[in-house]
Amino acid sequence: MIKVQEEDFDIGTELAAMTDGNHAVGGQGCFVGLVRDMANAEQISAMTLEHYPGMTEKQLASIEQEARSRWPLQDVLIIHRYGRLEPGDRIVLVATTSAHRDAALESCHFLIDWLKTKAPFWKLETSETGENWVAARDSDDDAADRWGSDAT
């Protein structure tokens, strides 16, 4: 399931909804990304996430499908926020359920790695010195690449 939203989310509610009543789940992996207060030694007061409505949902759905094709997953959840966030705010939640722990944890790692470079979001950081678009990092490309390329 894909959710692209401005509002915060409740991790406990979201994770419980994936497992309630499904007694075939042996493991649930999850990752939560949060806004840090420091970037390049500068104090950040806000991070504004811009995205490409329409394409974002399609890309996230495609990334979900890719994860499902690679691991035996029972459920996949991606929640990605946009708009103005502050340090400590949650940005993104990815969670997967599987009969097996390796599938759950590896697929979470895959999802967040691919989101970094393949989900159409752009981050604008606000600090004392002004506004600054966050640059894509080579290390994020490398992290995405280690999973190989899209099957499609």
Binding site: M55, K116, W122, V134, A135
Partner: protein, 83 residues
Amino acid sequence: MQLLYFGWVKTRIGKGRESLDPPAEIADVRTLVEWLKQRGDGYQSALEDLTAIRVAVNQEMTDLDAPITVGDEVALFPPMTGG
């Protein structure tokens, strides 16, 4: 043709979206970008380094060689920073 800009491409061009009618001979993204660069300093600055530009046509990732036609939605933006 619907044109969309995101990230610093948007900031430099000064708008996030516009509707344009490029000349009929513009048949791929690369020639569209060259045409846009002649529209002013903002476009020139935004589209100067083509290695930093990512392209989506009709909400699908593609590249500068992608063909385009009149009714397409073409988006130009920097590398994505999701997650």
